[in-house]
Each structure stands twice: as structure tokens, then as C-alpha cells.
């Protein structure tokens, strides 16, 4: 059981200017599952490898249980890691793979056997202990990699996109299993993924990173409802939040030629350029002449719901390069789904609008928000 603290931790790769991880401050509580999420190249894997000791820390410190580990070799940090490609030792069978760390630690053979068996039982891989990794399916290999980590009973688990090599169905099943297993074992876990659904469903808290900078770290709900900037707003949620360029007017915000009335007020003075954030689920089909007109390009029917991908009729293009073409996604009831090419009018649920600075992307909050 342990806490992990990143304190201004920075990694600058040789021959590069920009830091891969830039002055990261992050606290992982004892027993917590913290997910690091972000687009590729955002520094999330580097962060994990810094904690593992596989990556040099150029500035700042990383502490496990308050003890600085920056100068410790990976073997001395008492951590276990699950790699994206599993990194199973191909010449060892499953039991040997799982017991390797214990063998290195000089644990007696009988105890190794016992602990490997116990871990294999939890993961339901007892039947494969004699097999070599190449004789296993992707899902089984993934379990062995998990088993290798839990057998050790380390202070911290590190997981680097452990599900990315599995097919979609298995991924969903396994992510629930990993989350449950982590809660049962209560081992502090840092989990890296680029998949925000994985992050939202698994994490006690989620840290969103971009370009080596931590954007926001909070519970999935807070990230979803109260993002600090347009990047987090656009990254979290599936389908993502619509970000549309607008200009503040009295009583509302103008999106192209349409004035969208905002009952609870706009937190910026009239004339200010803003980015307006609209969740697809905050939009609904409004009667003609109300709401924002848009032309339907594609309708995705998912059974329980339908997503309408539409083009704003009077779009002027949005800031931050996030939504230049004025595309907008709305969630609608399948029974009311429009047809391709149809012009629809989208209403906005009251109180669901978020505003961001058009330049910086920072959230503009209403008083008291």
C-alpha cells in the first residue's frame, strides 16, 4: 500500500526542446486507481516509465510513500508493470513468467509455486501454467501479464495500455475485471490509456494530459461536467463535446447567423469571442425556427440511441482548430432520427452550455460556478 507523488517531475528527451513531461504535479492516493489519459505523444507513458525508473527524471522528484525514488533502480522501487505488448519472457512458461520476480527476490521455490498458483486462480489461468506465451491467445497473454504483476504483491501497479491489443469485446470485459481486481487487491495503480472511455469507466480519478502538461485531474464525473478547458471538454465524452465558435451578444451568444438565447447568462461581455461547448446529449430536436439550424450529414443508429452528425447552416468556423468546419453531433431518440440531408433545428437544454476563451481555450465560468 502506498501513495505516489509527482513533484514538478520533468522529462526532456535528449536533442529535443520541449519537455515530454513538463513539471508534473500529481498525487495518487493509497489504493487508488488513477488513469492517465491523453492523445499519443502527450507524455502519459513517459510519466509511467519515469515512475518505473525506466526513464530518467530531469527535474523535480517522484516519491513513493514519501520517499524519493528518482535515484533508485527499477528493481528497488517495489513496483510491477503491465506492458502494452505484455513483454512476457518468450522462453519461459506461464508459471516461470509469473514467478520470475519472486525468483529474482530469492523466494523459496515452494512459496513461489504457491503464490503463482494463487494468482493463476484469481485470473483463471491455472490450466495454462505449463504453456509458453506463444501458445496463448491475446487475452490469455494479457492475463499472464496481469498475473506476473499481482504475484509480486508490489506497492504500486503500473499499467501501460494493457488492453490495446485485445479485440473490442474482450477489452470491455477485461477492463471491468481489471478494475474489480484492483479494488479487491487495493494496490495503488497508475493506468495509462489513450481511450477516454477506458479512463472514465476504470479510474477513481482521471488525469488528462496534453503536450506533456497535466490539464486536469479529477473524478470522471467532474471531468465530464466541469472541464477546466476546451481540450478536456473535447477529449472526455463519447461522442465528444461540440465546440463551436461564437460571439457574445446581450442575452445570448451568436453562432454564425443564429442567436442562441442563454437564459442563465453568458459570463463574458458582449462582443467577446468565445468557444461554446455543447454536449451531444444536451441537444434536442427543436421545432423549426427555434434553435440552431443544421444540415444532417450522417445518422448513426445504435439501437438505444442515435447520433446525428450535422453541419451548422450558418457556421463561421470555430476557434482552437477544434471544430473548424462547424460540425455538430447531437444525440436523439432513434424514433425521431432525421434523414441524411434534412435540415434540422437543434435546441439546447438549459444550463448545459459551457464557455471557453476563444484564444486560450480556458474555461470562462459564471459567477459562483
Amino acid at each position: 500500500m502506498a501513495t505516489v507523488t509527482f513533484d514538478g517531475a520533468t522529462r526532456i528527451y535528449p536533442k529535443t526542446e520541449q519537455a515530454a513531461v513538463d513539471a508534473l504535479d500529481l498525487e495518487v492516493d493509497d489504493g487508488e486507481l488513477l488513469v492517465l489519459v491523453g492523445p499519443s505523444g502527450c507524455g502519459k507513458t513517459t510519466t509511467l516509465r519515469m515512475l518505473a525508473g525506466l526513464e530518467h527524471v530531469d527535474e523535480g522528484s517522484i516519491r513513493i510513500d514519501g520517499k524519493d525514488v528518482v535515484d533508485l533502480a527499477p528493481r528497488d522501487r517495489d513496483i510491477a508493470m503491465v506492458f502494452q505488448n505484455y513483454a512476457l519472457y518468450p522462453h519461459m512458461n506461464v508459471a516461470q513468467n509469473m514467478g520470475f520476480a519472486l525468483r529474482m527476490a530469492g523466494v523459496a521455490k515452494a512459496e513461489i509455486d504457491e503464490r503463482v498458483r494463487a494468482a493463476a486462480k484469481i485470473l483463471e489461468i491455472e490450466g495454462y501454467l505449463e504453456r509458453k506465451p506463444r501458445q496463448l491467445s491475446g487475452g490469455q497473454r494479457q492475463r499472464v501479464a496481469m498475473g506476473r504483476a499481482i504475484v509480486r504483491q508490489p506497492r504500486v501497479f503500473l499499467m501501460d495500455e494493457p488492453l490495446s491489443n485485445l479485440d473490442a469485446k474482450l477489452r470491455v470485459a477485461t477492463r471491468a475485471e481489471i478494475a474489480a481486481l484492483q479494488r479487491n487487491l487495493g494496490v495503488t495503480t497508475l493506468y495509462v490509456t489513450h481511450d477516454q472511455v477506458e479512463a472514465m469507466t476504470m479510474g477513481d480519478r482521471v488525469a488528462v494530459m496534453k503536450d506533456g502538461l497535466l490539464q486536469q485531474c479529477d473524478t470522471p464525473r467532474v471531468l465530464y461536467e466541469d472541464p477546466v478547458n476546451a481540450f478536456v471538454a473535447g477529449f472526455i465524452g463519447s461522442p465528444p463535446m461540440n465546440l463551436v465558435a461564437g460571439v457574445v451578444e446581450s442575452g445570448g451568444v451568436r453562432l454564425g447567423s443564429t442567436l442562441l438565447r442563454v437564459a442563465d447568462g453568458v459570463p463574458s461581455p458582449p462582443g467577446a469571442a468565445v468557444t461554446v461547448g455543447l454536449r451531444p446529449e444536451s441537444l434536442f430536436l427543436a421545432p423549426a425556427a427555434e434553435g440552431i439550424p443544421a444540415t444532417v450529414s450522417i445518422v448513426e443508429e445504435l439501437g438505444a440511441e442515435a447520433f446525428v452528425y450535422a453541419q451548422l447552416v450558418s457556421a463561421t468556423g470555430a476557434g482552437n482548430g477544434l471544430n473548424v468546419k462547424g460540425n455538430i453531433i447531437a444525440r436523439v431518440e432513434p424514433s425521431t432520427a432525421p434523414r441524411n440531408g434534412e435540415v434540422i433545428h437543434l435546441g439546447v437544454k438549459e444550463g448545459s452550455l459551457l464557455f471557453f476563451d476563444a484564444e486560450s481555450g480556458d474555461r470562462i465560468r459564471r459567477r459562483g460556478e
Partner: protein, 295 residues
């Protein structure tokens, strides 16, 4: 029209292939048939004619018993020098290639460049300075005058370097380090077991290079009892009547050898390499294919 033309190309290709096959096989067939014939038959009969097993046995006997079973001594010497040199080469080359491929240290690139340079340097160019060095160290005339130089095998380092850098995923070593393995344990328990094919390959090449080396042992040995087979063959040629007519006037006491005996000796000289190859074959093929498939 297309079909006959394709046929024509195939026929031409076949003819070319057959020509080269014959071109390279004929000398080998001749070599293997030569010891079955007497010197006279070798000249008069067709190159592909088989003499007799009796003649073969006689030839073999003459070669083996030549000068008090010298050939057997030379075989033994060759084996000692080659296996000794090979062992040293493998023990040095595998960790060296691993270090160059998978670890970071100052001077790594320089060492790699040096390895490549000495690899393409002709080994004979080093024989004289090596001789002087061995002499200074007082090793002249000992087995170490050959085993130590044979152990220097930059090509093996390069092979191991290529293998380690192309087939061992970095994450595998990282996983072992996290699992508590120190640098030696990472090499011993992860890299080395996975390097089995390249150990065989480097070993085989080192063995062949040592076994077939003529010039170095020619310089380093001074007595027939120290000769490896390759140098011994040279002495056999000196004892062959048809190559040195002046030495063999009638009534000379020197044992006279004939051309078939020489062919037999050559076969004896290449047989160990063939045997080693047969044993190492599976590992060799997998070593050469390593990296071609993704795990």
C-alpha cells in the same frame, strides 16, 4: 504469343542454372571420387569414374599412417585450436554484441565503428604484428598463440549486435529490470536464453574461420607436431611425388604420397566442419531467419 515466350525464358533460365550447378559440382564430385582411384587411374579414367572401395581403403590407410599418424595429430591440434578459439570467441562476442545493442554507455558508437572496421580488415594483415606480440608474451609455440587470436572475432560481435538489436524487444528487458533483475541477471536469464540461435551461428562461423585458417598457424607453429591440419596439408603436398618430381629420385626413403592421397586428406580436413554444420544446422537456420517473423 505470350505463352511460348514465357516458356523460352524458363528454358534459358534452366540452362543457365544447370550450367552453374554443374560448374560448381564437378570439382566436388571429382574430389570425392579421386581417393577411390590410383594415381594412374586418376589420369587415365573418366573424371567421374569410380575406382574401387579397395583402393579407397588403401588410400585412407596411407593418409592416416603417413609419417607416424601425423594426420591424426594434426586433426587433434586443429580441434584444440578451433574449439578453444571458438569458445573464447563466443564468450566474448555474445556479451559484447548485447552490450553494444542494448545498453547505453560512452563510446558505444565508436566501439561499434571499430568493430566494423576490424571486421573488414583482412586477418592476414594482422599476422605479423600478432606474431611479434605473441613472441613478446612468451606464448610462441604454445596453443595460446592460436587460441587467443582465434578468439578475436569481430564478425561475431557484429552478428550478435544485429541479433540483439533487431529481435529482443526493449520492453522485455525493462520488464525484467522491474521484476527485480540486475543487469547481469537480465543478460543471464532473459537475453542469453533468447540468444541461443545466435550463439550457434557465431560459434559455427568462428569454428569454420579458425579451422580453415592457414596463414596464422603456419606462422605460429614451428614443429610438425604442433601443426593443425591446414598446415599439415601443406606438408603433404611437399610429400607428393607428382608435385615435386625432383625430391623423389628412385630409392629415396621419404614416404611417397600420390594425388588421390591428397584428395583423401582434403576430405578428412573438411569432414569435421561438415559434421559440426549438421549438428548446428537447425539452430543455424533459425539464427539466420531470426527477426524475419514477429513474435
Amino acid at each position: 504469343m505470350a505463352l511460348p515466350r514465357r516458356h523460352a525464358i524458363q528454358v534459358v533460365a534452366l540452362v543457365i542454372l544447370l550450367f552453374f550447378t554443374a560448374f560448381f559440382f564437378v570439382p566436388m564430385i571429382w574430389l570425392f571420387l579421386a581417393p577411390t582411384k590410383t594415381d594412374g587411374q586418376l589420369l587415365t579414367q573418366s573424371p567421374f569414374a569410380f575406382g574401387s572401395f579397395h583402393t579407397l581403403a588403401q588410400t585412407f590407410h596411407r593418409v592416416v599412417t603417413y609419417s607416424g599418424h601425423s594426420v591424426l595429430t594434426w586433426l587433434k591440434n586443429s580441434a584444440i585450436y578451433s574449439f578453444g578459439g571458438t569458445a573464447l570467441a563466443v564468450v566474448a562476442a555474445i556479451p559484447a554484441g548485447y552490450g553494444l545493442a542494448l545498453t547505453q554507455f560512452i563510446g558505444r558508437r565508436l566501439l561499434l565503428s571499430i568493430t566494423l572496421v576490424v571486421m573488414i580488415m583482412p586477418a592476414t594483415a594482422l599476422v605479423l604484428p600478432l606474431f611479434l606480440e605473441i613472441n613478446k608474451l612468451g606464448l610462441y609455440g604454445t596453443i595460446w598463440s592460436l587460441i587467443l587470436p582465434f578468439g578475436f572475432f569481430p564478425f561475431g560481435v557484429y552478428l550478435a549486435y544485429i541479433y540483439f538489436s533487431s529481435t529482443i524487444p526493449r520492453d522485455l528487458l525493462a520488464a525484467a529490470r522491474i521484476d527485480g533483475a540486475g543487469e547481469w541477471a537480465v543478460f543471464r536469464y532473459i537475453a542469453l536464453p533468447l540468444a541461443r540461435p545466435i550463439v550457434s551461428l557465431v560459434g559455427f562461423f568462428a569454428f569454420v574461420a579458425s579451422w580453415n585458417n592457414f596463414f596464422l598457424p603456419f606462422v605460429m607453429t614451428y614443429d610438425s607436431s604442433q601443426y593443425p591440419l591446414q598446415v599439415g596439408l601443406q606438408q603433404l603436398i611437399g610429400s607428393t611425388a607428382s608435385f615435386n618430381p625432383a625430391n623423389f629420385s628412385a630409392g629415396s626413403s621419404i614416404v611417397v604420397l600420390h594425388r588421390p592421397d591428397l584428395a583423401m586428406a582434403v576430405i578428412v580436413a573438411i569432414a569435421p566442419v561438415l559434421i559440426v554444420f549438421l549438428f548446428a544446422q537447425r539452430a543455424l537456420v533459425s539464427g539466420m531467419l531470426a527477426g524475419a517473423t514477429k513474435e
